[in-house]
Every structure is written in C-alpha cells, then in structure tokens.
C-alpha cells in the first residue's frame, strides 16, 4: 500500500472519528450531570440531519441557514425532551429514567418512520462541499476536511464554556451535587436543560455532517451511530469531554483502517465499537482519560 492511500485512509478515519466525537460529547455531558445514558441522543442526531434536509430541500434555504435551523431545532427538541420526559423523573430510580429514554428514542424513530417514510432520502449536498481539493497530493472532498476542523473549533468552544464561563461552572458544580447547586441559588433544572441543549446542538452538527458524507437521511440512521458514539464516550472515559473526542477518534480510525488493511473483515465493521467497549470494561472501566469522579468533572 503506498503512502498516498495510507494518508487518505488516515484522513477518512479522522473525519469519521470527528463525527463520532461530536455525538459522543453530548452523551458524556448528559451522563456527567444526570448519570443517564440518553438513548435518544442518536435519534436527536437523526432529527438534526432531517431538519438540515428539510431546510435545504423543502424550504430552499442556503446550506448555512439550514445548518443553523438544524442546530436550533435539535437544541430545542433536546431541551423539550428533558423538560417533558426526564424532569418529572429526577427523584425516581435511575432505571425509570433509562426506560423513558428508550421510549423517547423509539418514539422519535417510529414517528419519523410513520410520517416521513423509511426510505432513505438523498441529502442535497451543496456543490462547493463536494469539490475535490489537492491536500499535499491527497485528493479530498472539502466536506471531509471540514468535519475535523469544525469539530476542533466546537471542542474549544465547549471547553471554554465549561471552564471559563459562569454557566460552565454551574454545569461542573451540578455534576458534583445537584442539591447544593440548588442551595447556591442556581436553578438546577435550567442548567440541566442547557446541557441537553448543548449536547443536542452538537449532535445536530454531527447529523448534518453524517448526511453530507453518506448522502442520505432515514429515520433509523441514528441508532447504530448513537450506540457507537456512546461506546466511544466510554472508551475515552465517560464524563470527560476530551475523552469523548479521543474515544470517537479511536473508534473512527479503527473502523476505517482495519477495513482498509483487512477488507475481509468488512462485514464486522459495526462490531468493533462494542468489542472495544467490552475490552475497556475488562481492563480499565473508567476509560482511557478516565476521570476521578471524586476530584474533578469534565
């Protein structure tokens, strides 16, 4: 295998991994504050992709505006799902929250399936994203380069919000102790909704990127991606934003690179993330960047 193809595969892996990372950040943040695996997160990514599709194909918006619509709509949906489905269960056993999350996830999938049909729809990718650029001898579509760059920018923004703003301080405090946060005069429910909003907005970006790279949208597209992103969050270290990005990149790389070198394993592509997950649980349950929950958050 010559070096060009190798580099090409590395870039592909980087691009795929960045998409997993964007979705994994949402999982890890919600898990950080609520200790909840938000099963509906992958489906919110699907809704984000659909909103982008509707924005371009139905409303005729330019790509940028459609992305903003997708981000805004998904953030609102994320907060809405928190207020309607999760907030009433704050003091309930955690198993109830998990079951509700599965209910929300199944509802989104099936509602979209019933009302918009299960047939994949072609995503109208803007032509300037499909142009090939010469990147030191590698031919790459603009979109494949865009994904890692946007992910890096968003990661910096999220870390800035978490560690440099008052809201971020509230989120980190919430991850330690909800009761005390309320005593400090902060409305914990509002901050939790904010976390859902941020996570869902990132998932929407991931969803639109996914739709660009595999140019179609369909109601079940979020299931497997969501699960893999959660596996990525655990592999990197659940509760840590940096860990989510690292885990996403690892799983993305593995999927691309293993198949490039061992094409006969292609059918097992979707199993890698879970095998990683089981291995990490066996040898280092806190994940690679596992954080000590007693000392720090995110």
């Amino acid at each position: 295998m010559d070096i060009t193809i190798f580099m090409q595969q590395m870039l592909n892996g980087f691009s795929l991994g960045s998409m997993y990372a964007l979705i994994a950040i949402g999982y890890t943040m919600v898990y950080g504050v609520l200790r909840l695996i938000n099963f509906a997160h992958g489906d919110i990514m699907m809704v984000g992709a659909f909103l982008g599709y509707f924005g371009i194909a139905v409303l005729g918006l330019p790509f940028g505006a459609a992305v903003l619509l997708s981000i805004g709509g998904s953030a609102l949906l994320g907060m809405f799902s928190d207020i309607v489905a999760y907030r009433p269960l704050r003091n309930a056993p955690k198993i109830s929250l998990l079951i509700t999350a599965i209910g929300v996830s199944f509802f989104l999938e099936n509602a979209f399936n019933v009302f918009f049909g299960g047939v994949p729809r072609a995503f109208p990718v803007p032509t300037y994203l499909e142009e090939m650029v010469d990147f030191y001898g590698l031919m790459m579509p603009v979109s494949a380069l865009l994904v890692p760059i946007v992910t890096a920018i968003l990661l910096v923004v999220i870390l800035w919000v978490l560690f440099k703003t008052k809201y971020g301080m509230a989120i980190r405090a919430l991850a330690f102790d909800v009761g005390t946060v309320n005593l400090m005069g902060i409305d914990a429910n509002r901050i939790i909704s904010l976390v859902f909003g941020i996570g869902s907005a990132l998932a929407a970006v991931g969803g639109v990127f996914w739709a660009i790279n595999y140019p179609s949208v369909e109601p079940m597209m979020g299931v497997l991606v969501g699960l893999k992103a959660f596996a990525a969050a655990v592999v990197g270290g659940i509760g840590s934003v940096g860990g989510a990005v690292l885990g996403g990149l690892i799983i993305g790389f593995t999927e691309v690179v293993v198949i490039a070198f061992f094409p006969e394993l292609g059918g097992y592509k979707d199993a890698f993330a879970f095998i990683f997950l089981i291995l990490i649980l066996l040898f280092k349950p806190t994940g690679i960047l596992g954080i000590d929950f007693e000392k720090s958050r995110f």
């Binding site: 200790r35 309930a92 998990l98 209910g103 509602a111 299960g118 059918g267 089981i278």
Partner: protein, 345 residues
C-alpha cells in the same frame, strides 16, 4: 426443588391445573389463528418472566433478550433441521461439514440452546458486572447487535441474511404452554429462595447488600445466566413455531416489546410479566387497525405502517411518567389478596 409457598399449596395446584386444562381446551377447540396467538403469548411469557428476573427482580437494567433468543433459535434450528433439508438450503456458501451432521430431538435441541445462551451470558457477566451502573444496558445492547452481525456474516453456519428454513414445526400449545408453566414455577422458586432474596437485596441497595455479606457479583451473574437460559429456550420454541428464522427477526424491536411487557406489568413481578404479555401481545393484534387506512370523520387516511410502534413508545413513556409501578408493582398474584385482608400494604 420444593414447590414454593407451601402455605398456599392448594391455590398453586389449582392455578396450574386450570392452566393445563386451558391448554388442552384451547388446542382442541380454538381456531388456528387464536392458537397461534396463544402460542406467541406462551413463548413471550417465558421470555418476559426470565427477562424480568434480571431487570425487575435484580434491578440490573439489561437489553439483551434479542441476542440470547437469537442464539437459542439458531442452535435449536441447526439441531432440528434434517441433514437432507440442510443440503439444499445453503445458497451463499457451503456449510461447514459438521453443521450437516448435527441432529437431535426437540428436548435436547431446546436445552442445548438454553445452555449455549447461559454460557455466553456467563462470559459477558465477567466484564460487565465489574462496573456498576448502566454499562450492562449498553454492553448487552451492543451484544445483541454483534449477534445479529455474526448471524449475517457467517453464512457457513447461519446461511447469512437468508436465514434458516424448513425447521420442523415441533412447537404446539402443549410444548409452549407446558414450558411456560415450568418456567414460571422455576423462576418463582428462585425468587423465593435464598438466591432470590440476594437478588432483591442487590436491587434495593447494593451497598447494604454487600455489608450484609451478600455476594452481589454471584447474585447478578446467577440472575443473568438464568434469564439467558430461559431466553434461549424461548428462542428455540420460537424457531420451531415459525419454521423459518432470519437475522432480521432478532433486532432491537424484539427487546423493546419485552421491555414494554415487563414495565406495563410491573418491574419485579412475575405475575405482572404474565399479565403484561397477555395485554401487549393480545393488544398488538387488536391494534392492527392502526397500521391500516382509517376512516375518521369522513376522511380516509393513508395506511401508516408502524403507527402501532408510535403508540407503544408513547405508552412506555406515559407508564414511566404517571404509573411507574405498572399494573402489579413488585407484588405477586397472592400478595394482592394479602394486602386486601391486612390492608397495610
């Protein structure tokens, strides 16, 4: 094994006798469609009661049934299909030679399916129960996916996405109903035994259970393996009822159905699992009209396949929000009468 609740021996025997009589009556006098639904209900009672053991009684939220049911179904099917029928089925690649030689009778096939599932559950429990919390849910969910991926990608064994056909139709109401009764009795005995109390202790407060000297790892692993065993047997019965299986049958939807059943019936109650099965399986037959074109106030809507699932998922959310205990809560059938006479529960 002693029969549980010796004080109420009479009631137990009477309930079993009524169930046996009903099975005999139904297989003799009901039409084919009803018997088919009853077969489904019996198999889902096996699955729901065993799923409830790990989810409700032990409180370890897992999402594995589709994986273990698939294993039970495939093992049973491979053992039941005659070598002649296997010869021409494998369209994608030729099967491994030993696959062709596998053959056994129904009981052995079912038991092997169950043991195979239980063994895999044992292997899974090692990594999973090392950590607390919700990891079990995601690992078992991933496990279900891996099983499906394996079934598609090993055509030498499973015939890939074409699935296995011509499975002899051994399942009838005597088999499904009989095994359902045995399963419920065994599970109730486990719940009322020393192990069952350990499982409930793990559910209610794991730290307190450890402090009391309960081996929580052992309790969880036992519950997980037992439930996998019966799920494997249920899968075998399902394979012998449907006569053809394919990987698509065992996707996450299967687990979702069981989850609704045990949540509706009440997590932790075997009686609830039975009631939930009857309501959900019967109800989803009744709700078929939702998927078809509807005539509402003079309008005719188009057919909406999948509408039932929207209703079911909303139902699940509403139960969780407004009636978290489900129908039975954690109580069993007998405790209903107890609470009425004593009035203190």
């Amino acid at each position: 094994m002693q029969i549980s609740l010796t004080k109420h021996h009479g009631i137990n025997v009477a309930i079993v006798a009524i169930a046996v009589w009903f099975i005999w009556f139904a297989s003799g006098y009901f039409d084919e469609y009803t018997v088919r639904i009853l077969n489904n209900i019996a198999i889902f009672i096996i699955l729901a009661a065993s799923y409830n053991l790990i989810n409700g009684v032990t409180g370890q939220f897992s999402l594995e049934p589709n994986g273990f049911v698939a294993i039970g179904a495939y093992v049973t099917a491979l053992l039941l299909i005659t070598p002649d029928a296997k010869m021409y089925q494998y369209a994608i690649v030729d099967p491994y030679p030993f696959i062709l030689t596998l053959h056994s009778n129904f009981i052995v096939a079912l038991l092997l399916g169950g043991f195979f599932s239980a063994f895999l559950a044992f292997c899974l429990s090692m990594p999973v129960f090392r950590v607390r919390g919700d990891y079990l849910a995601i690992v078992t969910l991933g496990f279900g996916f891996i099983i499906k991926i394996l079934a598609i990608n090993t055509p030498e064994v499973t015939n890939g996405s074409l699935g296995l056909n011509d499975i002899p139709e051994f399942s009838n109401l005597y088999w499904t109903g009989g095994i359902a009764i045995v399963t419920v009795i065994v599970i109730l005995n486990i719940v009322n035994s020393k192990f069952g109390r350990a499982m409930k202790a793990v559910r209610d407060d794991e730290d307190a259970a450890i402090a009391m000297g309960v081996n929580t790892f052992k309790a969880k692993t036992m519950a997980f393996c037992t439930s996998a065993f019966f799920e494997g047997i249920g899968g075998g019965l399902l394979a012998a009822l449907l006569t053809s299986i394919s990987p698509d049958l065992f996707d996450f939807f299967f687990t979702f159905q069981l989850l609704i059943i045990i949540v509706l019936g009440g997590l932790g109650s075997t009686t609830g699992a039975i009631i939930g099965t009857i309501l959900v399986i019967g109800g989803s037959e009744w709700m078929r009209f939702l998927d078809e074109p509807m005539h509402l106030f003079g309008y005719t809507t188009t057919a909406m396949p999948g509408m039932r699932m929207v209703v079911f998922s909303l139902l699940l959310i509403f139960i969780m929000l407004f009636a978290r205990e489900g129908i039975m809560g954690k109580r069993e059938f007998k405790e209903l009468f107890k609470s009425r006479t004593k009035g203190d529960k």
